[in-house]
Symmetry: C2
Subunit: 216 residues, 2 copies
């Protein structure tokens, strides 16, 4: 069974779902929805996801699954192997809390619709908009780095990648794409580098997608 | 066993956890951390939660649980009765996606640290700041209203309250406290009114907390 993933090369939430699908060895084809051109608002996509947001994951004959965290929890419940959450409730809570630190405290502040509002309505110039993005990325990654202080493993929690690693890699890669220097976050970088050596992470990278800008 | 909840009357994330604890009939005492005064940054609270964020839920002898969504998932796993998520993976995904629409697409844009940045760094005046808050609340509640279009039940999904209802009630009550007119969201209001008739929701209301401003 091949799933249909509606996404965008530059969407970090789509990037999360690609990694989760890859880690679980699930088959999918991606349909690019260009958020920069506003394709999420076109009737053809509204028919698929009235919420006009990516990612939307469609299993044949089923309504779309939306919201990256909800999609990853769904995949974890329906396709439990390999697991993306630890076994014990406390360890799961820790992994979910780390993920939410980025998914809810950082990423929503830097998505295209917010960047557009800041320039179009608030009237911020590019340096001020960049300062905004950098400010919230740095705060969340600093908090994440602090959470990793007591961990020395190759991944955020335990011997294999979890949802926390997925969210960390996507946030860090997104920051790098924006031009934000992340070198101060040593523990984060160590984990990201380790994850990106895995094919499931590497293949999901924004710049490796069919709709990404090509090197000239 | 009594749990310790570190929170703030005006924190919608704490409000979510209070409702979940109440619905599950769990015993807790709340310790107010005044976010407006910056008490989350004081050493005494840093010793409890180095992330300097509320809510933090402490079970005796255990490290704090943080991030409201992670806490609710934890409570669901450890204290499954009554459930706050439906049984089937697809229904669970739908409930989680509705919750995330508010928890990640709306609420993070209106928390105190963002409002402070908008006034202190960006230099927005109060009407512009209010327009910002209203804009993101309206967008998310409009999307939520659309998701409820096909549902006629007393709650967001099924015959009993779920995490989606908790997130809806907290977002709507927060919007009302801010002075944002939510009357256009008919389906949302119907569900919120129904939920607030339940003691578990009503008792968790921000204005009923010990640290809330008293009517004069």
């Amino acid at each position: 069974m091949t799933m249909d993933l509606y996404g965008f090369w530059r969407s970090l939430a789509t990037f999360r779902v690609r990694i989760a699908l890859n880690l679980k060895g699930l088959d999918y084809r991606e349909h690019p929805i260009d958020l920069f051109k506003g394709e999420q608002h076109e009737a053809s996509f509204r028919a698929i996801n009235p919420m006009t947001a990516v990612p939307a994951l469609v299993e044949p004959g089923q309504p779309p699954l939306t919201q990256s965290m909800a999609i990853m929890e769904y995949l974890e419940e329906v396709y439990p192997d390999p697991p993306l959450l630890p076994a014990s409730p406390r360890a799961r809570a820790h992994v979910r809390a780390m993920a939410m630190l980025l998914v809810s405290d950082a990423h929503p502040l830097t998505v295209p619709r917010v960047r557009n509002y800041l320039s179009d309505v608030v009237g911020l110039d590019e340096p001020a908009r960049m300062a905004w993005i950098t400010h919230w990325s740095r705060a969340a990654l600093g908090a994440f780095e602090q959470q990793l202080a007591t961990s020395a493993g190759p991944f955020c929690a335990g011997p294999s990648p979890t949802i926390a690693d997925i969210c960390l890699v996507t946030q860090m890669v997104g920051a790098r794409l924006t031009g934000f220097d992340t070198s101060q976050f040593h523990a984060c970088n160590r984990i990201v580098d380790h994850c990106l050596e895995l094919e499931a992470f590497a293949r999901a990278h924004p710049l490796k997608q069919q709709d990404a800008p090509r090197p000239r």
